[in-house]
């Protein structure tokens, strides 16, 4: 923690912060309450934040409740993740128009509006870093993602209120932010309601300079550290601490896949709420005359039957094989493909699974049975 550059701001200064970003031309996006959930949307002012609201999460359950304070970030992550702005659910890739015996193909111009994300949690910074490796870290760059990602302002928030499905500490992805950010807030509710602000970039410092602030005292810094330490200590879920890559690679014919397949509905919810799932499909549209056509890219899921379809049938016809694909990819083969695992411990897949399948329980079952079979053969 860079205590010498840290300052303390009042909750009211968040409005100045959003104003400072909007004046710089950013489209400011952050958490707000809509349809009984905390979602990410455009913010005009800090009054649209979920003030005094928290979420109660359980496997297959998400409910908002009132808090007995005015906390701005007193909740865990909801159904949205920042991926919906960096890798939107549907984009047009290009349009083509038949003219003069040929066809004029026009690529859709990339997003030119710079994005500012308010309240990015540590697990979400990790998820963005993972999608960076997928979309802009390899030989082929996803132009649309790159354009949205370039210059995105990241206002991080250290977590003080882990949900019942959070397990970021066991994935080394939180609750204290570590990945690059512009500014990082820690909300302190002990004594006077205030935020410790840490600076991660020059432009972060520029924005901060416009806000009323006071230098952080030693006790402010200590209290901020206690917020995340306390959050880590209160986190009840954990991913089993085993070599996940080896466990998954060695579990392809494990009986647990039949067990989880008997519960899994193949609904795709887990992949849609996952902040790192990046699979997509394409759709083509045409006017009635076939003169103007367009190609769109849409989110897809490895849980759909169509996902693996080739002539003759789907490779993964059973939900057993589709759940196995998802989990094995997320925790194992993602490393082979992109040099990092694909899970950050945010718990969204557990909360939004309609039957409450818990990724940590499934891994525990795989590792426990593996121990048993090892014991039997020893």
């Amino acid at each position: 923690m860079e205590s010498e550059r840290s300052v303390v701001i009042a909750p009211e200064a968040l409005d100045d912060l959003i104003g400072a970003l909007r004046r710089r031309g950013f489209r400011v996006l952050g958490p707000t309450v809509r349809d009984g959930a905390i979602v990410y949307d455009e913010l005009d002012s800090a009054s649209e934040l979920p003030i005094g609201v928290t979420d109660r999460q359980e496997p297959g359950s998400y409910r908002l409740e009132e808090r007995d304070d005015e906390a701005r970030f007193g909740y865990a992550v909801g159904p949205h993740s920042w991926k919906r702005f960096l890798f939107p659910p549907r984009i047009t890739l290009w349009r083509a128009k038949a003219e003069n015996g040929g066809r004029k193909i026009e690529e859709e111009p990339p997003n030119e509006t710079q994005l500012a994300f308010i309240g990015v949690r540590s697990c979400e910074l990790s998820a963005i870093a993972i999608q960076d490796r997928v979309f802009i870290g390899g030989k082929f760059v996803d132009r649309d993602y790159a354009a949205r990602r370039d210059g995105a302002f990241l206002l991080a928030v250290n977590c003080g209120e882990p949900g019942a499905n959070c397990f970021c500490a066991s994935m080394d992805a939180g609750p204290r932010v570590r990945d690059p950010y512009d500014l990082a807030l820690t909300e302190m509710l002990d004594g006077e309601h205030r935020f410790l602000v840490e600076v991660g970039s020059e432009r972060g410092a520029d924005v901060l300079a416009e806000l009323p602030s006071v230098p952080a005292s030693q006790s402010d810094v200590a209290s901020a550290l206690a917020v995340t330490n306390d959050a880590a200590a209160r986190m009840t879920k954990a991913m089993p601490q085993v070599d996940l890559h080896a466990l998954l690679a060695g579990s392809l014919e494990h009986p647990r896949w039949d067990d989880v397949a008997s519960r899994c509905l193949s609904c795709t919810n887990c992949t849609l709420v996952c902040p790192t799932c990046f699979c997509s499909s394409v759709e083509d549209t045409s006017d009635l005359a076939g003169v103007e056509t367009a190609r769109e890219r849409v989110w897809d899921s490895c849980f759909s039957l169509d996902y693996s379809y080739i002539h003759g049938g789907s490779i993964r016809a059973s939900s057993r094989s589709r759940y196995r694909q998802w989990l094995t990819h997320k925790l194992g083969t993602w490393v082979d493909q992109f040099g990092t695992a694909g899970c950050v411990g945010c718990g969204r897949c557990i909360t939004w699974c309609p039957v409450g399948i818990d990724i940590t329980e499934e891994v525990a079952a795989l590792s426990k049975q593996e121990e048993k079979s090892h014991a039997a053969t020893a």
Binding site: R103, E112, R295, R320, G332
Partner: protein, 282 residues
């Protein structure tokens, strides 16, 4: 802050196809056509074994292996396509002069340079001969660089055989052994599955590279037959088919365990993917 705008930083995306025009069109079998496509403006060079994403405007896009690869970007590209779905059907139905969109080259290529000085055995099932045709053409063009070269080719019936005129031409220079799964008179050739041809093919197991493409079950039994001859897994090369939507490793559809077939493949050695192909529904 960066002064360049996103569109300046990223001028062209990898999802935009290049226009090609159908210059020649030949029906090979009841459901398979070979098209020669000429680039309207610029095209791309293709290595043997690579594929292209072929777009029919308003219909869709599918990965198609290149049966006649352009050596230079302006050269025409030859595709052999079996009409089995909406897009492949629309490609096959494209008339002379029709415009298609192509992206590529995608994927890796057959290791034909590494096979130099040794023997070559090409084992193809059905439309699997299309991506192997560039290997055959290469060995014919560089005949002195290779030892014994043989093509083992199987189709369902005599009417399903591709490139029948070319097979006859190839026979004058290299060994060509053809079989069909089932036939009626007047077929006087072999009847049986293609892996059975491996046992009698002329090659030195210690010095051969096998190039194999066909249905996965055919490749499975071909690998068994090659192993029985003593060909090591490292020199049994397979070209795989998976669902592909982007062709550049970004959409996820072509995963086979740790590998993305469009990015890391489609050509793999049996040593690399044999264990993965053995897992049902992976």
């Amino acid at each position: 802050m960066a002064t360049a705008t996103p569109s300046e930083l990223h001028p062209v995306g990898a999802f935009v196809p290049l226009p090609f025009r159908v210059a020649e069109r030949r029906q090979d079998t009841g459901d398979t056509w070979t098209l020669t496509l000429e680039p309207e403006e610029s095209g791309f060079a293709v290595e043997p074994g690579q594929f292209a994403m072929v777009h029919v405007f308003g219909v869709g896009e599918v990965p198609i292996s290149v049966s006649g690869p352009p050596e230079r970007p302006g050269d025409p590209i030859v595709l052999t396509v079996r009409a089995v779905g909406a897009v492949s059907g629309a490609i096959c139905a494209s008339e002379l002069g029709a415009l298609l969109g192509l992206r590529g080259p995608c994927g890796n290529s057959w290791p034909i340079a590494e096979a130099t000085a040794g023997d070559v055995v090409v084992v193809a099932g059905g439309i699997g001969l299309a991506p192997l045709r560039p290997v055959v053409l290469h060995t014919l063009a560089q005949r002195d660089s290779y030892g014994a070269v043989s093509v083992l080719y199987g189709a369902r019936t005599p009417a399903d055989l591709l490139y029948t005129d070319q097979l006859e031409e190839w026979r004058s220079t290299i060994a060509v052994d053809v079989t069909v799964d089932a036939a009626e008179p007047p077929w006087k050739g072999k009847v049986g599955v293609v892996p059975k041809l491996v046992a009698t093919a002329e090659f030195r197991p210690e010095a051969v590279t096998a190039f194999v493409c066909g249905p996965e079950v055919m490749m499975h039994f071909t690998v068994q037959a090659l192993r029985e001859r003593g060909v090591p897994d490292e020199r049994i090369m397979l070209s795989l088919e998976r669902d592909m939507r982007c062709g550049i490793g970004l959409c996820g559809h072509c995963q086979l365990g740790p590998t993305l077939v469009c990015r890391d493949g489609p050509v793999y050695s049996q040593a690399d993917v044999g264990a993965l192909l053995g897992v049902r529904e992976l």
